[in-house]
Every structure is written in C-alpha cells, then in structure tokens.
C-alpha cells in the first residue's frame, strides 16, 4: 500500500517535554524495572534516569516486593505503570484496587500514573489481559468517566496507553486514534504513547501507523513506550521479548519530532536478558531523544 506521510508544520509542537500530564517533570530515558534485574541494580547501582514499575507487583501488604521497592526508591525516580485499572470495563472501579494503588502512589511519589485504554473484567471476573475496545462514542464516554474518577481518587495525573490488538469490532464507529482522542479530550488526561503498539496494531489491522501518530494530540503525551515484538505468519504479537526493530525506531523518531523529547521507557517482559543488555537497548533512544528535529526524515513504513 502506498504511503503518504503528512508533514504539515503545525503537526510539530514546541519541544517542551514537561506538561501537566507528567507532573511537569523532565524525565529522560527510563527502563522497566523487572525482578531478574533486582540484584544487579541494587549491587551495581547503574546510572538510570528513572524506572517504570508495574504497580500491581507492589500492591501487596508487605514482604520482599515492598522492601526491594523501598531500596530502589532510595536511589532512583520511579513512575507507576498499571495493568489492572481497566478503564474500559463497563463495571465500576474495583475499590480495593484503587485504595492499594493510592497507597503505592504515596509510597513512590510518582509524578504521574499510567494504565491502558482497554477493558479486562466483566461481572467481577478478570481476564488479566488488555482487551481491545469497541470504538464507540458510548464506550469513550464511559471510559473517560472512569479515568476522571480514578484521577480524582488518586490525586495524581493519569495518562492512558494505547494497546496493541488482534481483533476489531463491527460495532466501532471510529478509528482507534479517533477513539483515543475522544477519550483523552473527554477525560482531559494524558497519553502514554506506545509506538510499538501502534506498529503492531497497524500491521494487524492494515492501517498506516503515521496516520495514527499524526493524529495524536502532542500536548497530551506524557510518556512514550518502546518495545520489541514477535512476528507470526498472519499477525504480529506484542511479546516484549526482542530488541526494538528499525521501523519502530523510525516511528519513535517521528513521535519525538511531534511531541518533543518525552520521558521514554523500554519494556522487556519475557526472555529477559541481562540488565546491561536491556539498558543498552533503551539507551539507543538517546540519539533520537537528544535532537529529534535534526535527525534525517523517517522512511515510510508500509502497513
């Protein structure tokens, strides 16, 4: 499919990474904190701008998870990323989940909190997955209400992350990026822009990832995710078990051109290599981060 990359000057904003959706912070390149790396980090104390933690791993009453977290907090800045808020589930927020999340927010002093634009529970049953939503106005309204409720309770800015998906609904009334815009405008919240997820979904649903990126309201992007994925014969799976591929780096570069050098995290969740390897992969973002506007134009990516 031919690709037409729209490059209107108004697409690019002044490069100011700090905004009200990331607590006016100026974080650089971070790494997702993972259990196999605990020992290395605590013993070697590598220079890392910040760590992103999976909130649910530390929403426990005590024991090793919290003890490790406290040691990390003594030396590093931490931002919370959740996987169970399910803004898109039709049922109300789980109060126990929210209470525990707020306790953790107080502990980490995270400047902002992120979770996914998805659903994952119904009638009190949990799938523990990030399920795609039907892109309808009704769903956007409900999702935005739940984002506002969570922000009001947690008293910290919230950014929602676009998920990778493998299915689409007949019922959808708009594109995924239009739905994202509808939700964040209604909720007045930030965006955790996962450029790998955009790439994965663009291949699975045959759309142009640059159309997606160009439609994102740049002033709302609080953070960016990059990751690797796995390619199968008929679809791509968001496995977070490989290095970032070149087309995703190009999307990342394009995203930075639009939103400025924004706090970025590399996610690596399966077949996790050494900390040094993960950190080195994350640091590849630095060359784009330092001067995104000075980099060569990204090549188009055919969906």
């Amino acid at each position: 499919m031919a690709h037409a990359l729209v490059r209107a000057p108004q697409l690019y904003r002044k490069q100011v990474p700090a905004n009200r959706f990331n607590g006016f912070t100026d974080y650089g390149i971070g790494v997702g904190l993972r259990i196999p790396h605990y020992r290395h980090i605590l013993e070697k104390k590598p220079v890392v701008s910040w760590f992103e933690i999976i909130s649910e791993n530390y929403m426990v009453d005590g024991g090793r998870p919290l003890a490790i977290l406290d040691q990390i907090l003594e030396q590093y800045r931490v931002v919370q990323h959740g996987v169970s808020m399910y803004f898109g589930s039709a049922e109300p927020h789980n109060r126990d989940h929210l209470r525990r999340l707020k306790d953790l927010v107080k502990r980490t002093k995270t400047p902002w909190v992120t979770d996914h634009l998805c659903w994952g529970s119904v009638d009190g049953r949990y799938t523990h997955d990030l399920l795609p939503m039907p892109y309808t106005f009704e769903a956007a309204k409900l999702t935005a209400r739940k984002v506002r409720e969570a922000r009001s309770f947690l008293e910290v800015p919230i950014a929602v992350e676009n998920v990778s998906s493998y299915a689409e609904f007949h019922e959808s009334e708009m594109t995924e990026w239009e739905f994202l815009n509808e939700v964040v405008e209604r909720a007045d919240c930030g965006i955790l822009l996962d450029v790998n997820n955009i790439y994965v979904s663009s291949r699975n649903h045959s759309f142009d990832p640059y159309d997606y990126l160009n439609s994102v309201p740049a002033e709302r992007v609080a953070q960016i995710h990059i990751a690797g994925h796995s390619k199968f014969t008929k679809y791509i799976l968001d496995t977070h078990d490989h290095p970032v591929i070149d087309p995703v780096w190009k999307l990342y570069q394009h995203a930075l051109r639009r939103v400025g050098p924004t706090a970025t995290v590399l996610e690596w969740d399966d077949r996790i290599p050494s900390f040094e390897e993960v950190h080195a992969e994350a640091r590849k973002a630095e060359k784009y981060f330092a001067a995104p506007a000075a980099m060569p134009e990204p090549m188009p990516v055919a969906p």
């Binding site: 090793r64 919290l66 949990y126 523990h128 997955d129 299915a167 609904f169």
Partner: protein, 269 residues
C-alpha cells in the same frame, strides 16, 4: 450459560460475528489469539504457584485439574496472586481430579497457598525479646499477620522443599540426572506415609520458611493469633496438655523466646 472458551479452544459453534475478520484471519481465529493467551497466562500462574501439587498429581493430571478449576472458578481478583485462593475449596467439591491422592493434594494446596500469603503478607512492628519482660497475663500479643498455622495429615513440607530443590537444580544438572531425580521424587510421593504435623509457615528476612510445631505450641500460637490475652490463651490452649505443669512452664518460656527471636509476635491494640 456455555463458556465461550475452555482450555484455550474457542467453541467453534460460538457466535463471534461481532469481531471483524481481516484478509488473513477469520473472526474466530482473531478471538483465538486472545483465548490462547488467556489460558496460557492463567495456567502458567497456577503452574508457578503450585509446584508441589504438580509433583503429586503429575503434569497431565495437574493440567486437567487446572483447566477444570479455572473454568469453574475464573479469576475474581484484579491480581493473579489470588488465582489459587479457591483451589482447596474447589478440590474438596471435585475430589476426582486428585486421583487417589485427595488428602495429600489438599494438604499440599493448603501449604502452597500459605506460602503465597506468608511471602507478601503484612508485617506489624515486631515485639522483641526485651518487650517480653513486661509480659503479664493481661497483655494482648498478636501473631504477625503473614504467619499461617496449618495442621496437616502428610509431611508435605519436606516434599515441597525437595520439589523446590529439584527445580533449582534444573538449570545445572543433565537431563539424565534430572529424570533419575524426578523418578525418585515420584516414588517418594507414592510411598509417603501419613504423618500428623503442625506447621507454621512464616517469613524471615523476606524468605518463606516452614517450621514444625509441637501440638501445644500450635494451639497456643493459634489462640494468640485470635488476640486473646496471654493468660487466657495459655489456659485455653494448654489446659488439656498431657505435659506436666513444670515442664510445660519451661516449654512456654522457650517458645516465647524463640517466637520473639524470629519476629513472630506483635502487639495487639
């Protein structure tokens, strides 16, 4: 209502016309990507949480049990940590899934769930040995919330330790050695005679340990766990003890000293 998916397979008769097909995948195939992922994630979680049960039942029987359990008791918590919380109750209602080893399997589930709770349970401010100097009959002492006291019919604590050791060895030993060791473990399970044991599953320096208890010690700890004043707890727990009073007094002193040393005690408000 018929479940849409079970064991990773979507019912081919299930209506999935709400999902768009694309040029590579049918609606059903797209749904199956999620279905497989769901079952993989949940089975993997049970697999990690209950290695001892897996050793008792064997891989295939464990998978049958896990599939049936997750179909009847899907996750009701936002965290996968709680996935096995209803396994004991479910197996009591569905004993055939344990083959001929129901009592052994139930004991292991009880131990492995206690292990999970001890790992990340709450810890109150510890009441140390020096705090016990003011010990009087009216003092209310509590047990640390992460401690689980369990009464078992089989010595599954030893078995669980061996399963752990075998699992840790997995990365270093050859396949032949591992097969021989696994065979030995299975034979040990088959021959395991019942043994009535009292166990405390507790946490020390962020590691979970199993400590066998004397029957009187177990009853006294259980009473303290209910926040009964120390004097009443001793009366209730020890009045039927066959141990002579003088010996019992010495034992109680030793127990309290050991519990305080291990950080098991906390003050009750």
């Amino acid at each position: 209502m018929r479940p849409l998916v079970a064991g990773g397979h979507v019912d081919p008769q299930a209506p999935v016309d709400y999902i768009k097909p694309n040029d590579r995948l049918t609606s059903l195939e797209r749904l199956e990507i999620y279905s497989r992922s769901y079952w993989y994630r949940l089975l993997d979680s049970l697999y990690e949480d209950f290695p001892g049960l897996r050793a008792i039942l064997g891989q295939r029987a464990f998978e049958r049990l896990a599939n049936a359990y997750l179909t009847e008791r899907p996750s009701a918590s936002w965290t996968l940590r709680n996935l096995g919380s209803r396994l004991e109750e479910w197996l009591r209602r569905n004993p055939t899934f344990a083959g001929g080893r129901l009592a052994l399997a139930l004991d292991m589930i009880c131990l492995e769930w206690a292990h999970i709770e001890a790992f990340d349970g709450k810890e109150e401010t510890v009441l140390g040995p020096e705090d016990l100097l003011e010990l009087g009959p009216g003092l209310r002492i509590g047990l640390q919330p992460h401690i689980r006291l369990i009464e078992l019919r089989y010595p599954v604590d030893n078995l669980r330790v061996k399963v752990n050791a075998a699992s840790e060895e997995h990365g270093t030993a050859s396949n032949a050695v591992l097969r021989r060791k696994a065979g030995g473990l299975v034979r040990r399970i088959h021959r395991m005679p019942p043994e009535h044991i009292f166990l405390a599953v507790h946490r020390l320096d962020f590691m979970v340990y199993y400590r066998r208890l004397d029957a009187d010690e177990f009853r006294l700890l259980a009473a303290l766990g209910k926040a009964v004043p120390v004097g009443k707890a001793m009366e209730a727990a020890l009045e039927d003890s066959p141990v002579p009073v003088e010996d019992l007094r010495r034992r109680v002193e030793t127990w309290f000293a050991a519990w305080a040393e291990m950080g098991w005690l906390c003050r009750r408000s």
